[in-house]
Symmetry: C2
Subunit: 421 residues, 2 copies
């Protein structure tokens, strides 16, 4: 196909510009509530491409009232969502290209070799928070579209590019785009899959568990009950629950994943004075939900686990731990392995990489769950980022992969949406 | 002795005033850095008693440079120390009466039945943070002195009353008083001993241990190393170390103490995002030091324990936990069981309570370690507070005990300092 050659050549000629765009995006810290400057760069890029822009602050009543809405925020002012449409000529299938602009906090700065927002390039890698998760994927989407536009290739179906906020905190940005009426015949989300195709996506949700202790002077600590020691029992129970839940996973797509649906304890906090026995401890974490699992059943698993602990421990019998499901919540989702969008991406992959793609199930939740379960849009997650460094210090992306992903996605757009006369 | 009868009668007649003074002191939150208002009440009381006042802001260079100084503060402005002297007529032994005005934070408000600073009285108990540790003890000291002054009894030796800051954070207030030149032939510190006599005092010091993990996305948490899980190994090792150290304690004074020299873990902090693997975890705690133990040897015990852990765990072999001795540090101290001050207090106790006192070793450090090791002043810790509720929620003191302690201490002043013609 003539157009694919043009796309390939254009992408080859524009690598420096692509790397520079990613660099600019990474150099703007877009952690939660600070997305606006990075988003403005994306908006300006889409304006230059001549796309139809829809820029709005999310937070309408319909969003807050939706059952799939989970957030601890009361408003989302100052950091808009963006949808930018490359209108088709008609008669083809439409597609959503979805990426989030928010990034997680950089963590301990001392574990970063460089400033977390440096955008430093070395040995073909671009470094910084958000390179892999997922500004590199977003640049792949933008460059896939630009490679068509620059070559004056017209598609039949619409391409609906979405740059959303709040993915890392529960998906309110994508949900708002769905509620604004955007849907399509398929969707690609270039989260960091190491160039693998993920037809199935793990769901997940956040939990907060608190346990009580009994305060005392540290010098007579035997007169108190340490909330930290009690919390250690809870953590041990959760590790066992994780084992039990993962033993039930039989989907072959998960065969090379050590823990398909992990229970991650991300935070712990207890005590306010070195020489007092702490009287309350709190953990916060993320529970993975299998693609075919109902969220409520997963919650019940954890709640039952805590109830069982109360039966075994005399302190907990009187002072049971409390659990709260708060903030982030990502619905699981799946398409069949032979869904037409999977075939289309597989074909593009083979044309670019001269080998078949690896197909696995996603080890983490994405906004794909909202697209598939709320707007019934089939989703494949496929992106150039390096899974292992997402949410890590010294996060990076391999620029070569970013451009290969752009080419594969561009090929897929040609095939999926169809080329107009 | 005629004077003892006068003291007894006066104390009986002035209970309501004593309870009211304690109430006023408790109603002023004097947690660290906020001691000034409660201290002002003590200063005014001492002024009314006609004592020689010495009020000063601690923090001279000699304090910061002293080997026994431990604090994380750079200055102590705004919250003065007080020494108030009841000058003797000469020819008697002098005594220091030392109490701290600072209190520990109230902890979780929800575990308090009443406001932590209510000063509420019910069933002969006065409730609130600091009642037991140790404003009730301070009132016992002030009332012991007032019972003599009100009855125009003159002593031979000096009584040096000290109301110090910073006891809960390492004793900089008492050290500053020592460096200002105050010393005596003996000292009583009315920390909450449940009316027991403590000739020996446990020392203690604060530690901070940090462990590194490796950050990762919670959905692929097997690619990271959880600093929380690693810290659990450290905590288990510290619990074992506590067992080993306490197995070595053979002093019969400790026979009824379940854990003579505890290792208390008072704080834990790790992680900043529920769905990230935490890459650093920190605990802070208090290590008890036996009365006859050298501080540095206790430190070495804990450092060796961490080194042993590094040998057993492959992650720690490459990323050893770090330990820091910071902030609070209380020297241990002891006098012989038959020291004249012990005999003097025992005699007073028998006269007031008609039974011999219980003699034990202190389960916690006090400022007595500084008095004995820096200014060579023999110290007995004896006070009316309830050991079990120090640093607890719903802290209280039994008012009856506060007045009994005042009487015993007043008797001891008469005998120790001697009555002038």
């Amino acid at each position: 196909m003539m157009q694919k050659l043009l796309v390939r050549e254009w992408l080859k000629d524009n690598r420096a510009r692509g790397a520079r765009l990613l660099q600019k995006l990474v150099q703007e810290d877009s952690t939660r509530g600070k997305e606006s400057i990075a988003q403005a760069i994306v908006i300006e890029k889409c304006r230059q491409l001549g796309l139809e822009l829809d820029i709005w602050e999310i937070g309408q009543a319909s969003l807050f009232e939706h059952p799939a809405f989970f957030s601890d925020r009361k408003d989302f002012k100052g950091n808009p969502n963006l949808v930018a449409v490359l209108k088709g000529e008609g008669g083809g299938k439409s597609i959503i290209l979805n990426g989030h602009i928010d990034v997680v906090p950089p963590g301990d700065y001392q574990t970063w070799k460089d400033d977390p927002f440096s955008g430093h390039i070395q040995g073909g890698r671009l470094f910084g928070r958000g390179t892999t998760d997922m500004k590199g994927g977003n640049v792949a989407l933008l460059f896939a579209m630009e490679s068509l536009i620059a070559n004056k290739i017209k598609l039949k179906g619409d391409v609906i590019f979405q740059s959303v906020i709040e993915e890392e905190s529960g998906g309110a940005g994508t949900l708002a785009a769905v509620l604004r009426g955007y849907k399509a015949d398929g969707a690609i989300i270039p989260e960091p899959t190491n160039m693998k195709l993920f037809p199935k996506q793990q769901g997940s949700m956040w939990f907060r568990i608190s346990v009580k202790g009994k305060g005392a002077h540290g010098g007579t600590r035997y007169e108190g009950v340490s909330a930290i020691e009690k919390m250690m029992l809870v953590i041990q129970s959760l590790l066992q629950l994780e084992k039990d839940r993962n033993a039930r996973i039989s989907d072959p797509l998960y065969k090379s994943i050590p823990i398909p649906i992990p229970i991650n304890i991300g935070k712990i906090q207890s005590g306010e004075w070195p020489s007092s026995v702490p009287d309350i401890a709190t953990i916060e974490g993320r529970m993975g939900v299998a693609p075919d699992e109902i969220m409520e059943n997963a919650q019940k698993d954890m709640e039952d686990c805590l109830k069982a602990l109360c039966q075994q421990d005399s302190w907990f019998k009187e002072h049971s731990p409390t659990i709260e499901w708060f903030g982030g919540r990502w619905l699981p989702g799946s398409v069949e392995n032979d869904h037409p969008l999977m075939e289309c991406l597989t074909q593009g992959f083979i044309e670019v990489k001269h080998q078949p793609p690896i197909i696995e199930a996603s080890p983490w939740g994405t906004d794909g769950g909202i697209l598939s379960s709320v707007s019934n849009t089939p989703v494949v997650v496929f992106g150039p980022g390096v899974t292992e460094v997402a949410h890590h210090s010294n996060e990076y992306i391999v620029l070569e992969d970013m451009f290969a992903a752009a080419e594969i996605i561009a090929y897929c757009l040609l095939d999926w949406c169809g080329v107009a006369e």
